[in-house]
Symmetry: C2
Subunit: 194 residues, 2 copies
């Protein structure tokens, strides 16, 4: 990784932190320059516009998400163990300082048409597809009922993550993680072959 690339990565890390707090829309090249101690003109060498910065922040976060959540889950045994691993790693991702950038961005941008919203929606579709695909390995392995609906499971599991996000972040409620696990175990119990 060259020096320019290393700087760009460091700036995107910091921008991701800012975006989780003030939102993608609240982040500016000016405030990012101040917090990274780089010049605004230096930043413009990496990011042509605020929109370009927002898209790169999402791209950067997506790469981290794949490395920290999806890759570890896919290395777990197919079926229920893989679903458990996906849940565990996603809950850890959501529990990091600032929470999940995709969750914040989803609510922030749902009414603001444009390439950034399109990108967030695409990432959300990819994520639901991943949950459904991982769930399907559980049907194939005979862990879950053949008539279980993988897309419904993805919807329900996303609900658990969103409730956890709200409960831990807005309500500062330390039972959020435990509640999320109980919801998850109930979803599995409902899906399991009896």
């Amino acid at each position: 990784m060259g020096k320019g690339e290393a700087t760009r990565e460091a700036v995107l890390d910091e921008a991701g932190r800012m975006a989780r707090t003030v939102g993608l829309g609240g982040m500016t090249i000016g405030t990012l320059a101040a917090s990274t101690q780089l010049s605004k003109s230096g930043l413009y060498a990496h990011f042509q516009s605020k929109e370009d910065l927002q898209l790169q922040v999402l791209e950067h976060a997506k790469a981290r998400f794949v490395a920290q959540v999806i890759a570890p889950a896919l290395s777990a045994p197919r079926g229920e163990p893989r679903v458990r691993s996906l849940f565990e790693h996603k809950l850890r991702w959501d529990s990091a300082p600032g929470g999940c950038i995709f969750t914040s961005a989803a609510t922030e941008l749902d009414d603001q048409p444009g390439p950034v919203r399109d990108r967030v929606a695409r990432d959300e579709r990819d994520w639901r597809d991943t949950i459904a695909e991982v769930f399907r390995t559980g049907v194939a392995e005979g862990h879950f009922r053949p008539d279980a609906d993988p897309e419904q499971f993805a919807f329900d599991l996303e609900g658990v993550f969103l409730a956890h996000h709200l409960t831990s972040r807005l309500l500062d409620d330390s039972t959020a993680g435990e509640r999320a696990w109980r919801s998850f175990e109930q979803l599995l119990a409902t899906a399991r072959v009896s």
Copy 2:
């Protein structure tokens, strides 16, 4: 209702619509003046500051929420019928143009300490308490298992509403309502006395 009060109500309706689109933070006295065709000085007679405006918007929305969601549910028979009515009215509330202002505000403000965040958190706690209380009437009536956990039900049901919000608003997915109903029926099936 006097003329001043009627104006204030109309302005708060419009401010609520704006807040659901651009966020409570994105709303300004200036843009509100433009969209209501009132003078900024006229608006300052009603709202001392942007924070005061945000708090009044939330107060106003809360009164509508009580009238449109909670009051109808409380007039339904105790137990499962009341839980169903609460779910149905809340889903309708969330499906109105712009979605639920409390849901948008919760994600927007979870990292921004202050009286507005405190207010949103208090409203969220009240809402969870309401769900749990209504669920408890179902335990008392013998519809739900005595060992069912009303706070866990409130957490799970909030997850269903949040997943519905994201699915319908970010993904523009027309199956969101149907999926939310399926999740809800499953939660009831799990809670019911067998």
